[in-house]
């Protein structure tokens, strides 16, 4: 009797992550076809519509790029912390906190000139996001509180804070009692580049590029990565883990908060409950697909932006926009699976098929024997 086990390859297959990503995409689209057929839809027509709506002409590109902004910044917020081995699950809350602070600035600065107000709104976003990450950052660095759980819990708190603001203190008196915050002043909106694409696209790209350089090419980034791979080594090298942990988490919060400011002034125009429509959580997938490397975040974000915008467009065809949600999660699962297979190979070994065993472990036994 023989059975298949996973054996670690001596060297990962060439092509690596882009290949895994492509395989993930193919897997997701294939499962998507099955789902669409199951509900009696025409998958080809639907995928074509998604593609055209997201990437068909400059106008659709502009919408896709706008969507890629919060996804990319949220992905960066996760990846920066991830470079140091920290989990920032709080991008969703940090985006909301950024949007709240930015909306507060827009209320105060109504009379300021346009460029000043726009800048102040974006800075407000950064400050709001940083403040939201400050608690988890201090708790983690000073007393070792698990940042996964604190940042996660604060997402739900931030969401309720936004709800409270728009149901209460910030409710627009002219909204006929609907829970709506007032629109921000026209001169506080982000200038557009082409189509509907706004300046936020450039801001996000610059921020991502800066962090990519900082993490990959500077001493600061090197220390960060050392601390991420081994705390003991970092200590031995004289790197202050406490300080670095706190700074990195607060910076990550600021990056996500910037996305909140950009969303407010770029697309939403008012503070709403759905201003971060799961961008923070999608950002975690984006960062994971970019292998926690800031440099890879932008490309993944554009693809996810396209999937989301495409997903919105098929609602008019009577198809639930949740198709795009499903596709995003499936891309990740497909890519993880492909990523593992690029590091392992399936081999048949003699063995007792009745023993469920540990495939990875058994693989190594074989590896040692060969």
């Amino acid at each position: 009797m023989s059975r298949p086990v996973l054996v670690r390859r001596e060297q990962a297959l060439r092509g690596g992550q882009p290949l895994s990503f492509a395989i993930g995409l193919v897997v997701a689209l294939t499962i998507g076809i099955v789902l669409l057929l199951g509900a009696g839809h025409d998958p080809v027509a639907i995928y074509e519509r998604m593609f055209v709506a997201a990437l068909g002409d400059p106008d659709s590109w502009s919408v896709t790029l706008n969507r890629a902004v919060p996804l990319g910044l949220a992905g960066l917020a996760v990846a920066v912390a991830g470079s140091m081995g920290l989990w920032n699950i709080g991008a969703e809350g940090q985006i909301l906190a950024g949007a709240m602070m930015a909306a507060g600035v827009a209320r105060i600065g109504e009379g300021w000139p346009g460029p000043v107000l726009v800048t102040a709104i974006l800075v407000g976003g950064v400050v709001g996001g940083s403040l939201w990450a400050l608690g988890p950052a201090v708790a983690r660095s000073q007393i070792g509180v698990n940042e996964i759980l604190t940042t996660l819990m604060l997402n739900e708190v931030a969401l309720r804070l936004v709800q409270w603001l728009i149901h209460g203190p910030w409710k627009d008196p002219d909204s006929f009692n609907f829970p709506l915050a007032p629109m921000i002043p026209d001169h506080g909106r982000l200038p557009t580049l082409f189509g509907r694409a706004h300046v936020g696209v450039i801001v996000a790209l610059v921020v991502i590029a800066l962090f990519a350089v900082a993490v990959n090419r500077t001493a600061w980034g090197f220390e960060l990565r050392v601390a991420g791979s081994s705390g003991a080594t970092a200590r031995y090298a004289g790197i202050s883990l406490e300080r670095k942990t706190a700074t990195v988490l607060v910076m990550a919060g600021g990056v996500a908060g910037l996305a909140g400011g950009i969303e407010l002034a770029g697309t939403a125009d008012r503070l709403t409950e759905g201003i971060s429509n799961g961008f923070g959580y999608a950002g975690i997938i984006v960062a994971a697909l970019a292998l926690m490397r800031p440099s890879g975040v932008a490309a993944v974000a554009v693809l996810f932006g396209a999937v989301q915008i495409g997903g919105q467009s098929i609602q008019t065809m009577g198809v639930s926009s949740s198709v795009s949600t499903i596709l995003q999660a499936l891309i990740l699962f497909g890519a993880i699976g492909a990523g593992v297979l690029s590091r392992y190979q399936v081999r048949m070994v003699p063995g007792d098929p009745g023993d469920p065993g540990d495939p990875g472990g058994d693989g190594v036994q074989v590896g040692e024997a060969t």
Partner: protein
């Protein structure tokens, strides 16, 4: 505030408490074996949609519950396959599971929005007990799900702390290599724990459309999966304490819609932050105390086990 509304509040506290307890108990089993599953919200949504659809199709609430448990377990096993077998990051896989579950549930339930339920789990009428003043309406006129959640709690407590299987499962979560050396299959134990956790989350999800809010709506789980994750920490990974926490957090959910009835001038939205803030408080306390005594969290929680890297 009158007697009837106070009884209503207590009864709703127990109902919501049971809802949270089922999901939190499942998450606890999974974490006890060392697997953090942040997909609770997604598994609950899958349980809710499959339960509601089965009830629509077959009109049998018990069959609906069984299907929901299966759906929750199968959804969880996707996480299990990726994290236990392939050793993927548990945080990423779990959050993706939430996204996938919410998306699939919305997709599958699209045509069920607004339809009346095919079947509901009728409240149990206990002889004599149900008629007791106060206690009757609060404890003995509840949905069968409430009594099932108590039963599940007792079973989980017994298996975890009084059986060899439970010992092996906890060993897999505390020190996977020790469990492995003792001849247990870490992969098998962890997969089983993840599946049980998913089944309980599925049951919790089905509780919503089968009894608590008898209809299907996208987003029916409304973030309660996150409260379940919080509860496990709040209850320090102990079935009894998690139950107390479930009543406390269930109380905030029950109170949320009743604040105005009681004439309390406090925002229900702010009240609903309480579970998360309390949990953060508990996390801080655990960390401060961890300097002198071991943390209640399973030591291998969140860490993939690969025998070759032992």
């Amino acid at each position: 505030m009158n007697e009837a509304s106070l009884i209503g509040l207590c009864a709703a506290t127990v109902s919501f408490g049971a809802l949270l307890y089922l999901a939190a108990l499942g998450e606890m089993v999974s974490e006890k074996a060392g697997i953090l599953n942040l997909g609770v919200e997604g598994m609950m949504a899958m349980g809710a949609v499959t339960g509601f659809m089965t009830a629509l199709e077959f009109g049998n609430p018990w069959l609906a519950l069984a299907v929901a448990v299966m759906a929750g377990a199968l959804t969880a096993l996707l996480h299990g396959w990726f994290t236990v077998v392939l050793g993927a990051e548990q945080v990423v896989s779990g959050l993706s599971l939430t996204i996938l579950g919410l998306g699939l549930a919305a997709y599958l339930g699209k045509n069920a929005v607004g339809r009346p339920p095919g079947a509901v789990l009728a409240p149990v009428d206990w002889p004599v007990l149900s008629d007791i003043r106060w206690l009757g309406p609060v404890l003995f006129q509840q949905s069968p799900m409430v009594y099932l959640s108590v039963l599940a709690g007792v079973v989980v407590w017994f298996v975890l702390s009084r059986t060899r299987t439970g010992l092996a499962l906890r060993a897999a979560g505390e020190s996977a290599s020790t469990a492995d050396a003792a001849g247990h299959s870490v992969v098998g134990l962890r997969l089983a724990a993840v599946a049980v956790g998913g089944g309980l989350a599925g049951a919790s999800g089905a509780y919503l459309p089968l009894s608590l809010t008898p209809q299907w709506a996208e987003g029916i789980t409304a973030g309660r999966g996150w409260i379940a994750v919080a509860l496990v920490i709040f209850g320090a990974w102990k079935p009894g304490r998690v139950a107390l926490g479930a009543l406390l957090f269930g109380g905030t959910l029950a109170l949320k819609t009743r604040l105005q009835t009681f004439g309390v001038d406090f925002s229900p939205i702010l009240l609903s932050m309480l579970p998360y803030l309390l949990t953060i408080g508990v996390l801080v306390v655990i960390s401060i105390r961890a300097r002198n005594r071991p943390s209640p969290a399973p030591a291998s929680l969140g860490i993939a086990y690969r025998r070759e890297e032992r």
